[in-house]
């Protein structure tokens, strides 16, 4: 049985599938190339424009809540003057991941249109949920955005405090944990953290306590405390 397609589909198809009648092949290929360059350039420019802090804080939701909180923290003001902007932490730098994140962000456009967090109270009420989304995202990509700047290879733990050095050696270098496990709330205020154990604790690992690295971490810290110069001076 032959399916009869309607004319409004058939006629554009005939136009596309038939050879050009007036335009030269050169015009079509070169013109198509030039148009492609312009389209792609325009697309990328628009993408870059949405990937700036100025764009993020053009919404008052972002400017008066999360941006104000960021300004207090070490990722905004510090001794070296290097700072992180919103997309440095919240948008992946790789193209495919970035596009995937941008598609997810269409939900945020929905939230903006319908005013999901358009008051401080609404934002505070949703803070835990929003934070959990970010924790889950960073956990899933192994804290990719942190690692765009902070790499374990370049981390000189002899310059760190004893506790930090040991924790990084124990958890970060072995890959047991990822940055976000311990470093929550480094750039914004924390939500109610009830039921969220500290990243270095057993509860966060999901492993049994007897064979956990935390036991050894605790052991090590206890040892250094007993043999340290302060203990000897006492």
């Amino acid at each position: 049985m032959k399916l009869k397609l309607p004319e409004y589909i058939l006629s554009p198809w005939r136009t596309i599938s038939s050879p050009s009648r007036y335009l030269s092949l050169g015009f079509l290929t070169l013109g198509g190339f030039a148009a492609g360059v312009m389209f792609w350039g325009g697309f990328n420019t628009a993408l870059e424009a949405t990937n700036t802090e100025a764009f993020c804080i053009s919404c008052h939701e972002m400017e008066s809540n999360v941006y104000e909180e960021l300004k207090q923290t070490i990722h905004f003001t510090n001794r070296s003057g290097v700072r992180a902007t919103c997309p440095d932490c919240h948008v992946p730098h790789e193209w495919t991941d970035k596009i995937a994140r941008k598609m997810q962000a269409s939900k945020e456009v929905w939230g903006k249109i319908f005013g999901t967090i358009n008051t401080r109270d609404k934002f505070v009420a949703m803070r835990r949920e929003l934070a959990e989304h970010e924790w889950a995202r960073l956990k899933a990509n192994n804290s990719l955005e942190c690692r765009n700047c902070h790499s374990p290879e370049s981390m000189d733990i002899t310059k760190q405090g004893a506790r930090a050095a040991r924790a990084h050696e124990e958890f970060l270098f072995t890959g047991q944990r990822t940055c976000i496990d311990c470093h929550k709330g480094i750039a914004h205020q924390l939500p109610n953290m009830e039921g969220v154990p500290p990243g270095w604790s057993d509860a966060a690992s999901g492993k049994d306590a007897a064979h956990s690295s935390k036991a050894s971490l605790a052991h090590w810290l206890a040892e250094t405390e007993d043999s340290g110069p302060a203990a000897q001076a006492r």
Partner: protein, 161 residues
């Protein structure tokens, strides 16, 4: 008319010294230990902000009731309505893992003397009592004597001068 003169006469002993002192040399010099010795009209350069002490060494208390000082950096540690990041190491639950000193049991006692199951609200804001230290030198000489040195001092036999 006479009453006005009486008032002026009564005010005279107060006004004369004030006038005399105002005729002194320029603005008064402020010799306070809390200020550098400069005229208060001059703008002295601000002293450098001293460095934080973050060596993780416990500091002895000057008297038994002194809240221990914090020997580590506490920048951006959030103590808010939502959560208390000090307690992610110093609470009873987590000290085994962190090896941090546990907050003392006095922190569980509310103002009515009732011991609660967790930190009493009046003890929740750690930095009200516990503070980090800097390398700043004391501005004024301190004559504080440790209680140990007081009780081991030889007795004066009740002869206090």
């Amino acid at each position: 008319m006479r009453s006005y003169m009486l008032v002026a006469l009564a005010a005279l002993p107060c006004l004369v010294p004030a006038l005399l002192s105002a005729q002194g040399t320029g603005p008064a010099r402020v010799d306070s230990p809390f200020r550098p010795p400069v005229q208060f009209t001059d703008e002295a350069p601000a002293p450098q902000i001293p460095a934080d002490v973050t060596n993780d060494r416990r500091v002895a208390r000057n008297y038994p009731d002194q809240p221990p000082v914090i020997p580590h950096n506490i920048r951006d540690y959030q103590v808010s309505l939502n959560n208390n990041q000090c307690l992610t190491c110093h609470s009873r639950k987590y000290v085994e893992g962190s090896q941090a000193p546990m907050i003392s049991i006095t922190h569980y006692i509310d103002r009515d003397g009732q011991t609660l199951g967790a930190v009493a609200p009046r003890r929740y804001f750690c930095t009200q009592c516990h503070v980090p230290q800097t390398t700043a030198q004391p501005l004024v000489p301190n004559t504080f004597q440790d209680v140990d040195s007081l009780i081991t001092r030889p007795s004066d036999g009740g002869d206090r001068k």
